[in-house]
Amino acid sequence: MAQISYREALNQALREELDRDERVFIMGEEVGYFGGAFKVTDGLLAVYGEKRVRDTPIAELTIVGAGVGAAMGGLKPIVELMTINFGLLAMDQIVNHAAKIHYMFGGHAKVPLVIRAPQGAGHQLGAQHSQSLEAYFLHCPGLLVVIPATPADAKGLLKSCLRQDNPVIFLEHETLYGVKGEVPDGEYLTPLGQANVLREGKDLTIVSYSKCVYDAIAAAEALENEGVDAEVIDLRTLNPLDITTVVESVRKTGKAMVVYEGWRTGGAGAEIAAQIYEAAFDDLDAPVERVATLDTPIPYNARLEKAALPSAADIVKVAERMV
């Protein structure tokens, strides 16, 4: 077990999967000679060559479409979108093709494609480079949505995605690449659809994923000083969604809050809250709360950007109101 960064954990997972399975290859803008816009694929070209680490033109629709076609042709492509914002150019191939092909051809075709993309705000990159779009993909049947918070899960989940045959949207948070954590060496798989209870508590359930998990932990520590014992759950994957673990927690605490960086309106938190109501209405002592990004484009100015995003302080404030 080594202390490595989220970025290194992803790189390690890619290396292990490239070594393990000849069908696995990586394709995307700047993944080769540049080493990845966020350096996730750094050093891979030198080891695996252009065939398996393929730089592409800037043409997101066809990068993803070629990934879909290559997957149908028997390969296991990993497509890197430079950021999910650019992935919007590929929505036709993601939603109309990748997500539909297995179904509309009656189960006779499959698309084992992993689309990796950084997302999220926090680096003052402005409105077109700071979005968290997991809800767009969660909305669409046929796509798995995987969204790791920790280095260990970044590795374990990415490897699991390559061991199954559904198209996956694998979302990495841009501010997490440098975060370090314990990551098991060698073969390590995190099952898809299993939430992780990061902190046990009896007063309040905080459900989160991706970068906001760290805010939830910080908030839980602050709340502890105020005598509030919060449980923190990292969902790890949104589809499949481990609502069972969430509901079990809510039955115990009677209160639930969903914390996420997508926009508040129509976000993944709305779906999670709805499922909590459906499964545990009688166990709730308070309405399910959402702490999320304000319904505005993300501004450039540092103070404004910070104010638009959910924070540990926001979580504490809402929690104080709830308990």
Binding site: A59, T62, V68, L189
Partner: protein, 339 residues
């Protein structure tokens, strides 16, 4: 110029081609035409529903191109794909059953007219987003090249796809990577009801090949031999690792865009001119003229095809509806950690 050259090649091909192959062209084209006629009839009787785009008039493109491929080569198609699917050798029964929405259909009734698929025959699907198949064809070409296999990918699309970004992205990428893809543009002069010159600045569509550094030809899409010849050249080039080609086949759909379109934007005179160029009648005339076949032989083919289609309809009629339990099936591939 391009057309003249192709015509010459086609005439030469007619002289040198074996009778078996010529009759096979005839049989396949008749199969598609009669199939589509029957589909129209079944549609009007309410047996087939939804969107349904018929291929009648364009048979020479599918048959000419696909007959130039090997069985293991891939075909990617559009929502007007019954012809490509049949030409690729997919069983008419399974196609008709899918159109009827039956459990025995190619896509178990989940797809319909626009979403046929048969992995066995390497028919890699009909896609109903204009231009959507081109990136997929690039990816299949990439897979073939990656695995160092000898196949080529033949990708059909209409003139309506050329203004789409997907067309330009796919041509650039396949040319850049020298992928074994044959792009066949079926120029029937209308994207739905919009004339090609009202949709794209360069109406000689094959000329888009040049900026993407690949060969581009315009062939008479009403002449099965012309399409066949051009596809043979493109396939040989692709197999040699020299990359993609663009073939523009000028053709005409004898019916509207879909079953709900009476095609009132086209003149009767224009339709008549194209009807006179009917690819099936033309081949029949040529075969008889050159003494390559007699009336009795060609009529026998027509009768065989009629029987195949009657059988397909009977099969579709007699097949069960998909059970409601299949509604949620095939959304995800089961197992390995994902529900």
């Amino acid at each position: 110029m391009a057309l003249e050259r192709e015509k010459h090649i086609a005439e030469r091909a007619l002289l040198t081609m074996g009778e078996t192959q010529l009759l096979d062209f005839y049989r396949r084209m008749v199969l598609i035409r009669r199939f589509e006629d029957k589909v129209a009839e079944m549609y009007s009787r309410g047996k087939i529903t939804g969107f349904c785009h018929l291929y009648a008039g364009e048979e020479a493109v599918a048959v000419g191109a696909i007959s130039a491929l090997y069985d293991k080569d891939f075909v990617v198609s559009t929502y007007r794909e019954h012809g490509h699917c049949l030409a690729k050798g997919v069983a008419p029964r399974a196609v008709m059953a899918e159109l009827f929405g039956k459990a025995t259909g190619l896509s178990r009734g989940h797809g319909g007219s626009m979403h046929l698929f048969d992995a066995e025959q390497r028919f890699m699907g009909g896609y109903a987003i204009v231009g959507g198949g081109l990136p997929l064809a690039a990816g299949l070409g990439l897979a073939v090249r990656y695995k160092e296999e000898p196949q080529v990918v033949c990708c059909f699309f209409g003139d309506g796809a050329l203004p789409q970004g997907a067309f330009h992205e796919a041509l650039n990428m396949t040319s850049l990577w020298k992928l074994p893809v044959i792009f066949i543009c079926e120029n029937n002069f209308y994207g739905m009801g919009t004339l090609v010159q009202n949709a794209i600045c360069q109406e000689e569509l094959y000329k888009f090949a040049e900026p993407y550094k690949m060969p581009g030809v315009r062939v008479d899409g009403m002449d099965v031999l012309a399409v066949h010849g051009a596809t043979l050249e493109a396939a040989a080039r692709a197999r040699e690792g020299e990359g993609p080609s663009l073939i523009e086949a000028t053709t005409y759909r004898f019916r509207g865009h879909s079953m709900s379109d009476p095609a009132e934007y086209r003149s009767k005179r224009e339709e008549r001119i194209w009807q006179e160029r009917d690819p099936i009648k033309n081949l029949r005339r040529k075969l008889l003229h050159d003494g390559r076949a007699n009336e009795a032989r060609l009529d026998a083919i027509e009768n065989e095809v009629a029987a195949v289609i009657d059988d397909a309809v009977k099969f579709a009629e007699d097949s069960p509806e998909p059970s409601l339990e299949t509604l949620g099936k095939y959304v995800y591939v089961d197992g390995n950690g994902a529900e």
